[in-house]
């Protein structure tokens, strides 16, 4: 009876460790900067930023026309940008420049519709590499 109990405990622990280990293994290789920009482009086009929300750093610089301007935490950046895209409904977003050198950055044009009116904004995004991961250091929409 006792041995069966310990056997089950062992199986459960093994299973739990494997659940933890697999994602840990998977996460060891960070995506390239191009992939990060690709996920940003997709998210901005669809208005759903959850695909690249994890890339916001804890002190990201956010500058939005008619909106927030300054440094904010990753949580704040997520909700600020989400609210911004709700107000400025995306029509189209495309990067015009993607530079993946030592300090990757990209520029693009964001076309949106707000209050029955269409407009465009210039976008600038820069990344920095830290702790084996890419982070968005600056996100400007003007």
């Amino acid at each position: 009876m006792k041995s069966k109990f310990f056997l089950w405990m062992f199986v459960v622990e093994l299973f739990s460790v494997s659940l933890w280990a697999v994602p840990a293994l998977q996460s060891q290789q960070p995506p390239a900067a191009e992939q990060v920009f690709a996920s940003i482009e997709q998210g901005m086009s669809s208005g759903d930023i959850s695909g690249f929300a994890d890339y916001f750093s804890n002190q990201a610089y956010l500058s939005l026309s008619g909106g927030y301007n300054g440094y904010c935490s990753a949580s704040q950046a997520f909700y600020i940008l989400q609210n911004y895209l709700k107000l400025h409904q995306p029509v189209q977003f495309k990067f015009t420049t993607i530079n993946t050198t030592q300090s990757p950055y990209s520029t693009g044009v964001y076309t949106y519709e707000m209050k029955n009116k269409r407009g465009t904004s210039q976008v600038f995004i820069s990344l920095r590499f830290s702790n084996n991961k890419w982070f968005i250091s600056q996100f400007t929409i003007r």
Partner: protein, 1276 residues
């Protein structure tokens, strides 16, 4: 047949209402979909009607503004005319800015301005479309006004009195204090469609079918402008209807859920397992909170910073705290759950006695690790939450020099208070649960137990902090919190506090912990902001400058206003250029930038610059390159000072026709982080990095090739310090944190290697550590807010109590406390007010002296200038030579300024402020000192007349642009004084409370003891802990009660003896009466027998009759005496037994015993009995329990199976074998006492037809049950 009475009884009515609401939700959905279908079917008709309605509403909104303006104009002209007629200085009313937002006034005489306000349009008479009071629009370069102007003749002068209402502020204002009026934006928000307003009567209406035009006409029917609106599509309407329906359904769902809660409340209360009740309530509130979150309620009712994630946003719970309002609501729900948990678990604990008493000690000790884990985890949870409040928020609670926080900040601060209070309440109840299992020998010594827990917590807490990867707080901070926590535990257990008192005390402790944590994490964030400062310095690279240039030049495309401006060259194109800069990203960035507008011939027709003189030079190379394409190129990279320059040019076209060019130059160097930027004037706060630090606090330097170069501040590192930084960055993979001492001050330093590829080059920021007094008043700034909230709650509670009692009962303690506070706080406040005034006045004098010194330098430099330079270049020359910003006026017109772009663009009026003009030009003063306010910031200006070449000029220097070092602003003075005097007030309140308590406590004890004596309890004793006369009074009282007890016993004995004697005499006397005739008749019978009397039979009959009669008499006498020996007559009446029990409980409130009612005990119960007998009986029971060593008495009153009053204590119980004897007369186990209490109680209860039984007894207490008959008919 539906029985509505049944359905509406009790909680069923809530269920009925909830069902009705659910039905309404479905009905709403059906109605809404039908309406949407109908709209789609008749979309054209509906849209035409809607557009007509919109046009009507727009006209009405315009008319509203027109009427407001005309009303103000009528009042102004009337007042001005009256003032002139009375020969008073009418224009004085126009000094400064208008008190009415958006309204301004000016007075013209031909083309001269006679009187004006700073924000007046400053038009010329020729610009006025009408001069008979009719409404018209006036467009200045940056603003659009609605104006009304009336010509008035006063004796020989004809004046034009003008009133203006601001319709459009074209530039975007970041500073919330500055006007940001836009009628166009207002209409776009209201009608959710594109709106274009032409403030001219000459614009032709568009023929584009997607738009409709609404002409704007003044009261006289003249067209003054037109509004072109995009036709609203049916989809907008349908969306609006769907949104309204969703909102209404949301409100109904919330209402239904609340009603369901009421409906279930009865079931919750009578739930079989009381220990699970708090969990049921928690589940309900959690579901409720999630429901509110999903429905976006009530966030959808708020606007602005309250719901902005910029204020606060955490991703906890999928966004359930993603704004200040959501945070407040979530913490409030948590607080409600914790209060209920405290209340219900507290009652359970009090009524629960662990039956497994022998094992209770094992449970107690073995639960210590689990208990500590819960405490540590809770403290970590509080720390993590407060850290999130600081890090995930842009509110800077300690850096904004305002005493009264804004509403969003107040909500966040209150949320922190609620959160920490809730956690402390839960920890307090967990502590009490744990304490309940303490072995009995320790139970009486709560202080010892608390101390034991405190030591264990400190010891194991060190390990807890050590094992964490990222401990949120340091061990000393942790130790302080553990100490405060255990003080709270001791107070909560030792003082038997009511629920509200407990909440308020937890609130005070929670405030101390919460504010201390806020301050702690803010200091941490300030430290981290050094890293952000480096990031900010390195952020603008060449690629970003290129982006800024692209963004600015993109505004040349499809810009109708710009095209219009270039077509009409007469316009002030400096303003148009400024507007392009204002709308671009250049304004937000700390870069120097210049923009130029060129016409087709490449001549400069407009410019705006925030740069130095070098930046203001037009890059001629780009002018030459100008063509049909946009060109952007770097113009310079200087690695020595880290500066980078870029320029660009783009064509401005209209329908393919080239109209001109837009040219931009941008420069950035590292020192710009600290330089004052023009845009800073228009921002809501001084330039702050991450809004945490002022640039004045930062000391930035770079290191290249071993040499340190100062960029900003006063910090100059030594060679050793530079070497330490190098070594640190190498070891720390490119960055290092360290501490240096400079000029005997401690500095925190952060350094990072630069990305220029050069070895050993790094950039560093040093921040002086704050002195203790700054942490001190930071703490009080928020603590006072919390204390105020707690005070308001306590005050409201007192008011409710007074309202319920319908009488104002101010205790002796409260009178004493009020007296102390009045005597001490009033002088403190008076002193604070005086100090504030004195400091403010001194500050003004000092600012004036500094400005006078500036003025002296200006005078010296302008004295020898030739006239043409003086008029146009003087301010620039002064700036270059001495760094002082000044303005030069001739009469009241600006001729030269160190910041010419502020005036040429129209941002500030190019006229002397009217009050300065009046005092200097009209009143003839040589020097004039005035104060003003701009963007929420107070500043001071000094004006002085200077003579040059026989002409008089007025020079102005102000503290807005020339910062005067070392001065406290009035608000900073307020904060500093506030901190000091807050401490003084808190100390006064603390000492006053303690002293009032010490004085009032013995008086209260005496009052209660006297009341007990009045109710017959002579065994009450006062403690011997007072001093002085109070001690004598208390000793005297104790002696008095002892004497009374003794006398009462003696009197009782004497009375008993006297009663017995009297009784015996009466008995003897009464018995003698029938015995005498019995003796006589027997003697007669004996004599007759001896005499053998012939009448013996007759005598025998007579004697036996007499004897029998006398025996009957004796029998009657015995019965009478038996009746007489019964209990005295009672006063039987209908009484409510509950208040009688409560009155008896009150008499023991100062004794070391907690007497509580059990949950579910009745709150009212009518029965027949004698109130004073009942009172004596309960007092006797409680006194017995106290004498048995009980610390807790629980009372339960119920009516199931008759009235049962159960009194249970936790004393040492009844000795086995004495269970029946206790009800006998003269049986007592006490050293004093007559042993009659229980006997008399039993007799009394039995006389009412009830019984008293000893339900159970053991070493842990005794339980008596008083059973009485229950009569339902007398309950109402």
């Amino acid at each position: 047949m539906i029985n509505f009475r049944y359905l509406l009884r009790g909680t069923r009515r809530y269920t009925l209402a909830a069902v009705f609401i659910v039905f309404s939700i479905f009905l709403l959905g059906i109605i809404s979909s039908r309406m949407i279908a109908s709209k789609k079917e008749h979309s054209q008709t509906i849209m035409d009607a809607r557009n007509n309605e919109t046009a009507g509403e727009i006209k009405a909104l315009f008319k509203e503004r027109e009427q407001l303006l005309l009303q103000k104009h009528k009042r102004f002209t009337g007042a001005y005319t009256r003032a002139i007629q009375k020969r008073k200085t009418a224009g004085q009313k126009l000094w400064g800015t208008s008190e009415e937002k958006g309204i301004c006034y000016e007075v013209l005489q031909k083309d001269s301005i006679v009187a004006w306000q700073i924000d007046a349009p400053l038009l010329k008479e020729a610009d006025a479309a009408y001069t008979d009071g009719r409404f018209f629009f006036y467009r200045s370069p940056l603003r659009v006004y609605g104006l009304a102007a009336t010509k008035k003749v006063f004796e020989k002068d004809t004046l034009l009195l003008v009133t203006g209402l601001l319709f459009e502020e074209k530039s975007i204002q970041e500073n919330k204090e500055l006007s940001s009026v836009s009628f166009q934006a207002f209409l776009e928000d209201k009608f959710t469609t594109e709106i274009i307003i032409d403030y001219t009567p000459y614009k032709q209406p568009t023929r584009d079918g997607r738009y409709f035009v609404t002409p704007l006409e003044n009261e006289s029917g003249n067209k003054v402008g037109q509004i072109t609106s995009k036709r609203i599509s049916i989809n907008n309407d349908i969306e609006a209807l769907a949104k309204t329906t969703a909102n209404m359904q949301g409100i109904l769902i919330v209402a239904g859920f609340i009603l369901m809660g009421f409906a279930m409340s009865g079931d919750f209360k009578s739930f079989r397992y009381p220990v699970l009740k708090p969990f049921l309530y928690t589940i309900y509130f959690v579901v409720f909170r999630v429901l509110l979150f999903k429905l976006n309620f009530p966030s959808s009712l708020f606007t602005g910073e309250l719901i902005e994630p910029a204020g606060f946003a955490s991703q906890l719970g999928g966004g359930i705290v993603k704004s200040p309002v959501e945070f407040f609501i979530t913490t409030s729900f948590f607080f409600i759950c914790s209060v209920y948990a405290f209340f219900s678990f507290g009652k359970l604990i009090d009524g629960y006695k662990p039956h497994l008493f022998k094992r209770a000690g094992y449970i107690f000790y073995s639960a210590i690790p689990l208990y500590l884990l819960v405490v540590f985890a809770s403290l970590r949870g509080i720390a993590a939450s407060v850290k999130s409040v600081i890090n995930d928020s842009t509110f800077r609670y300690f850096n904004e020099p305002v005493i009264i926080p804004s509403l969003p900040q107040l909500i966040m601060i209150t949320g922190v208070l609620i959160l920490v209070t809730a956690v402390l309440l839960l920890l307090a109840v967990i502590f009490r649960i744990h304490l309940r299992f303490a072995p009995s020998s320790q139970k009486g010594s709560i202080l010892w137990f608390v101390f034991f827990e405190f030591i264990i917590s400190l010891s194991l807490g060190a390990i807890f902090i050590k094992v964490q990867n990222e401990p949120l707080i340091t061990y000393p901070v942790f130790a302080v919190f553990i100490f405060l926590l255990h003080v709270l535990f001791y107070v909560s257990v030792n003082r038997h506090l009511a629920l509200l008192q407990m909440v308020l005390i937890c609130g005070l402790f929670g405030s101390v912990i919460g504010v201390a944590l806020l301050n702690y994490f803010n200091s941490g964030l300030e430290r981290d902001s050094l890293k952000t400062t480096i990031a900010e310095i390195n952020r603008p690279g060449m690629e970003f400058l290129q982006f800024l240039a692209v963004e600015a030049l993109s505004r040349a495309e499809n810009n109708a206003e710009l095209a219009d401006a270039l077509n009409n060259k007469g316009k002030a194109l400096d303003a148009e250029t400024y507007l392009i800069w204002n709308a671009s990203a250049l304004k937000q960035e700390r870069v120097q930038s210049s923009l130029w507008l060129l016409d087709r011939s490449k001549d400069v027709v407009g410019s705006f610059s925030t740069g130095d003189s070098a930046m203001q030079q037009v890059p001629k190379k780009f002018v030459a390159l100008a063509g049909r394409n946009t060109i952007i190129e770097p113009t310079g990279i200087n690695n020595n000072n880290g500066s980078i320059n870029i320029s660009g040019i783009a064509p401005v076209t209209d329908d393919g026709v080239l109209l001109g060019y837009l040219l931009v130059s941008i420069a950035y160097k590292q020192g710009m982080l600290i330089e004052q930027n023009v845009s800073d004037l228009f921002k809501s706060s001084p330039p702050l990095i991450n809004n945490l630090l002022s640039p004045a606090d930062l000391n930035i330097f770079s290191v290249k090739d071993g040499d340190a170069e100062n960029i900003s501040g006063d910090f100059y590192p030594t060679l050793l310090q530079v070497e330490a930084l190098h070594a640190g960055t190498v070891k720390g993979q490119g960055e290092v944190w360290t501490e240096f001492i400079f000029n005997d001050e401690n500095y925190v330093v952060y350094a990072q290697q630069t990305n220029d590829g050069k070895e050993g080059s790094l950039i560093a920021v040093a921040l002086k550590e704050k002195k203790l007094e700054w942490s001190f008043f930071n703490f009080f700034k928020l603590f006072t807010v919390h204390a105020f909230i707690i005070f308001v709650i306590a005050g409201c509670s007192s008011l409710i109590t007074i309202f319920r009692r319908r009488s104002l009962f101010i205790t002796f303690r409260m009178q004493l406390l009020s007296g102390f506070l009045l005597v001490s706080i009033v002088p403190v406040i008076a002193l604070a007010v005086f100090n504030r005034y004195a400091t403010y006045e001194k500050s003004k004098i000092s600012i004036r002296a500094a400005l006078q010194a500036n003025m002296a330098a200006v005078e010296k430099q302008t004295a020898q200038l030739p006239l043409h330079l003086l008029k146009e270049q003087s301010a620039k020359i002064v700036l270059e030579k001495s760094g002082i910003y000044c303005n030069v006026y001739e009469a009241n017109k600006l001729t030269s300024s160190a910041m010419p772009y502020l005036y040429s663009t129209g941002i500030l009026p190019a006229f002397l402020p009217y009050d300065a003009d009046y005092n200097m030009n009209k009143s003839g003063l040589k020097e004039y000192f005035s104060s003003g306010e701009y963007g929420g910031k107070e500043y001071f200006s000094l004006y002085k007349k200077i003579k040059n070449n026989g002409r008089v000029y007025i020079v102005e220097a102000n503290s807005l642009i020339n910062p005067v070092p070392g001065q406290y602003s009035p608000v900073e003075v307020d904060v500093f004084l506030f901190g000091i005097y807050s401490l003084a007030v808190i100390i006064v309140i603390g000492f006053s409370s303690v002293i009032a308590n010490r004085i009032a406590s013995p008086v209260k004890q005496l009052t209660l003891a006297t009341r007990s004596v009045a109710h017959g309890d002579l065994s009450v004793k006062l403690p011997n802990t007072a001093y002085g006369e109070m001690k004598e009074l208390m000793n005297g009282f104790n002696t008095m009660t002892d004497e009374l007890q003794r006398n009462q016993a003696e009197l009782a004995n004497l009375e008993r003896e006297a009663a017995w004697k009297e009784f015996a005499r009466q008995v003897a006397h009464e018995i003698k009466n029938p015995l005498t005739p019995m003796k006589l008749t027997m003697q007669q019978l004996v004599a007759a027998y001896k005499d053998k009397s012939p009448k013996f039979d007759m005598i025998f009959e007579k004697v036996s009759a007499t004897v029998l009669h006398q025996i009957e008499t004796l029998n009657a006498i015995a019965s009478e005496f038996s009746h007489f020996a019964r209990m005295p007559v009672m006063n039987i009446e209908k009484i409510d037994i509950i208040p009688i029990i409560l009155e008896s409980v009150t008499l023991f409130q100062n004794e070391k015993i907690a007497i509580q009612f059990q949950e579910n005990t009745l709150t009212s119960l009518i029965l027949l009995g004698d109130a004073s007998h009942f009172r004596r009986m309960f007092i006797n029971f409680f006194r017995n329990s106290i004498q048995a060593g009980a610390a807790q008495i629980t009372i339960n009153v119920e009516t199931a199976g008759g009235i049962k009053i159960t009194i249970t204590d936790d004393g040492h119980g009844i000795t086995p074998g004495n269970e029946q004897k206790i009800f006998e007369s003269n049986f007592t186990t006490k050293s004093a006492g007559m042993g009659l209490g229980l006997k008399l109680s039993k007799r009394f209860v039995e006389s009412l037809g009830g019984t008293i039984t000893l339900k159970q007894t053991e070493q842990a207490g005794a339980s008596f049950v008083i059973s009485l008959p229950f009569d339902q008919t007398i309950q109402n």
